[in-house]
Point group: C2
């Protein structure tokens, strides 16, 4: 084998190994680590990050990749190797544009900023967080200056999470989405059915919740020898190796169904992680997702299209009724309406399927205004509250329930939020396509048979890893790119009958 | 600060960080890792081991230490720095005598050997393991050849686990111990009380066991923000950082008290780990135990001297009775006799406090015979069985219950077993000394007040780390070195009354 190629594959392998170790440290920190372990863990994480970063940006590594990129050598490579080199070249070129001094500055700023965000939440005071947020947005603008991605500055931030996505595309789709969602919401909230709707009065012991979650991940065929479920404050999925994916949930939220739906959501991510290409792509840049939107499409698909649908509960409701005596008298139809209640809420992560994207669009708009310096940090809470009123008809009673609710900005993640809405739209597009190709889909779900669905997702999404961009992947599968109308159609077909409008 | 010193302390720090990460990987592997994660984990562990080993044996590191060792520079160092450099110099000189090629060969051999040991256990056939054990002992002899430690070859192996310990010292103490223990055992097993003794008929739910274990570690003042208890096949203690120590137990053993006593045992190790010196010794070679015997003395002290003693149960029995209704009718004296039953058993880890050391001495004798090639590997099972009969009056019915029971040899740990008996002896010596210095010891224990004990162990053992050798530490504390008579006296005073002889 070509000497450069051997060296590159070894580096890729080691970086993947380091990545797996880092994932274990992160997982442990969120699940089992004793409190006082945090300062040692911070040093361990910093050590590993440096180890990884130094190797990613090392000149000999990039030089080797560049040599293989040269046409006369590139053409001698086998096809999978060509894919790896092309992808790696793009990634490295991008990573090397950011000076190490900036990476360090960002790391320090976000550490302080996260602490300030927590303090601000304790004190319910945005002003505690404001100067740190200012520093973060200054750094984001500095970050943008390292690149020459065309169009609005915000495109550069988007590109990190959703390669190739632009403000233009999102403006078009999100404008449609916002207008139609607010109109749909208006139709629903003025309906008779909405007036009568009551919150679900249900309590569930932790062990009941846990049993239910274990049942559902078994139903979703998440292999127990390759995956596990634990508990953390905020649910997440992380991959420690090709055959070791961990998901988490939380059994102590006020809503007893939080654990079930978040487990299904994370299991959707986990199936994806377990399905990304191995073999000749193991431990390489290809063995990953092309974008966060695609990753989110997998979790949303399972959480919403499948697990909030009637066929799923035709199968699963008897299981739930067995676990929970209180539900034995509640008809399936009533249950179905309960888990699909629409109601504007202040908190994004508690939002229903229909209003969720309005929370995302609000953040997308605000992030652009801040990046473009159209508003000042000090104006943010007011602006937030005004837009909440405009989009959802409700106004936060406090900063905690408003502008301070998400941790993303404190960690320097700007441009991230849109991927949640992109994921919802892609999920609807995939669901529509799958339904077209398998007219017996509902029957399979009613029977608790998810093999067909998992295989379809694997064949169309999972096993392609990063061989295509998100846009290519969706076009190849669904015949068109991001299309908010498909998602809106799905919502209308589902929710108008529920609200009898 | 001296440039060499800065560099050395940075290396020490990084090695400690890598050690903490490695401990996390080991802990996770034994507790939560999904089965199929093992091959990726093996690569992650190998990667980290190499990273650590390469830095330990790097020439610049050793050269810097040597330069600081030179008298005119050494005397300019502060006292703690002198301790660090002296200790480090010894450690590195030793580590550098072993060629990297040998380390790799040993790693490969033990990996195969461990698998063969597991297969041999499944098949209950020593012959499956024999050729691998032969290879291990060949490597052990090769290992010995790298050093010039005086006396019998076995001294070199001992020195790795119990620095400065020799066959001469152990022969003397273990001969006394073996003779007196077999005689004491004979007295007990021929007593009327022994004839009448019945095994404890007790079942305990996992949640009951868990509650009990959580109570006992609270009683032992193991701080919950710095330590945690989980479940693994074999109980162990591991340190992930200065403020993050993890212990494990197992709730599925046939003996329902296994979890309680193993938790106490591991909590004894954990208190030690949390107590080793920090401050100027943080992340250095000093912040550790001088020997495995000393470490084991801490676990045995709590498991046996404290938690199998009458004063402890005067305090703790009512707690247990609250958890377990079946015991509400059993008088404390009967309970005390039950948990202190002497009965020769085939399996070391199930042995009672009195017969335990006979299992260890048997292994000590056999290891020497194998190292000195006085017997052949093929003779081992017969030799084992003969000695079991001689020492304990029972003969294994199968290899699993005999020569195949311990994993130590398959991992290349030869010379390790004696530290278990050394720990038992040291524990008795520490207990005797503590009792002398605190005549109100029993009263404190009866009241569930362990602060005095923990402080005493901290002041005399924990906080000295590796500033002294094991021998120095015990001499400083108890006025004499290893003395089996103290342990024998303790056993006689405890067990002769129980068996009314």
């Amino acid at each position: 084998m070509n000497e450069d190629l051997t060296y590159i594959l070894k580096e890729q392998h080691d970086l993947s190994v380091i990545g797996g170790i880092g994932a274990l440290m992160g997982w442990d920190q969120m699940t089992y680590m004793p409190k006082a372990g945090s300062s040692d863990r911070a040093e361990q994480s910093a050590f590993l990050s440096k180890l990884s970063h130094d190797r990613v940006i090392a000149d000999p590594f990039y030089d080797a990749v560049q040599r293989l990129q040269e046409k006369n050598i590139f053409t001698t490579l086998e096809e999978p190797q060509q894919h790896i080199i092309t992808r790696l070249h793009k990634d490295l070129k991008k990573a090397r544009k950011v000076p190490s001094t900036f990476v360090e500055k960002m790391a320090k700023t976000t550490t302080l900023s996260y602490q300030a965000w927590e303090q601000a939440r304790s004190a319910n005071k945005f002003s505690v967080f404001a100067p740190h947020l200012e520093a973060i947005f200054d750094l984001e603008r500095e970050y943008i200056s390292f690149f020459d991605i065309p169009g609005p500055a915000y495109n550069t931030l988007l590109d990190d999470y959703e390669e190739g996505m632009t403000v233009d595309i999102l403006n078009k789709e999100f404008t449609t989405l916002r207008k139609e969602l607010t109109s749909l919401l208006d139709t629903i909230t003025t309906s008779k059915h909405y007036e009568r709707q009551q919150p679900l009065d249900l309590t569930m012991e932790e062990t009941q919740q846990k049993n239910l979650c274990m049942k559902v991940i078994k139903t979703m065929m998440l292999p127990e020898e390759r995956a596990r479920l634990d508990v953390s404050t905020h649910p997440f999925t992380t991959s420690l190796g090709d055959n070791d994916v961990r998901i988490t949930t939380n059994f102590s939220r006020p809503n007893p169904l939080f654990s079930l739906f978040s487990t299904i959501h994370e299991a959707g991510h986990a199936l994806y992680e377990l399905g990304v290409p191995k073999g000749c792509y193991k431990d390489t840049v290809i063995s990953d997702a092309p974008s966060l939107g695609i990753h989110e499409s997998q979790s949303r698909f399972w959480e919403n299209m499948i697990a909030r649908g009637m066929p799923f509960w035709q199968y699963f409701y008897p299981e739930l009724q067995q676990i929970h005596a209180q539900l034995q008298k509640m008809p399936l139809e009533v249950w179905y309406q309960h888990i699909n209640q629409v109601k504007p809420s202040l908190i994004r992560v508690e939002a229903d399927e229909l209003t969720y994207c309005l929370h995302v669009i609000l953040r997308f708009e605000l992030e652009q205004q801040l990046i473009n310096q159209e508003i000042k940090i000090g104006q943010l809470p007011d602006q937030w509250n005004q837009m909440m009123d405009e989009y959802l008809g409700i106004t936060p009673d406090s900063d905690i329930n408003g502008v301070l609710q998400d941790m993303h900005w404190s960690g320097g993640s700007v441009g991230y939020f849109p991927t949640y809405a992109i994921g919802s739209i892609y999920a609807a597009q995939l669901y529509q396509q799958l339904s077209k190709e398998h007219i017996d889909l509902s029957t399979h779900i009613q029977q608790g048979n998810f093999e067909q669905i998992i295989d379809w997702l694997k064949n169309h999404i999972h096993e392609h890893g990063r061989l295509f961009t998100a846009d290519e992947l969706i076009k190849n599968t669904c015949g068109e790119g991001l299309n908010a109308h498909v998602f809106l159609n799905y919502l209308k077909h589902k929710y108008l009958p529920i609200y009898e409008v």
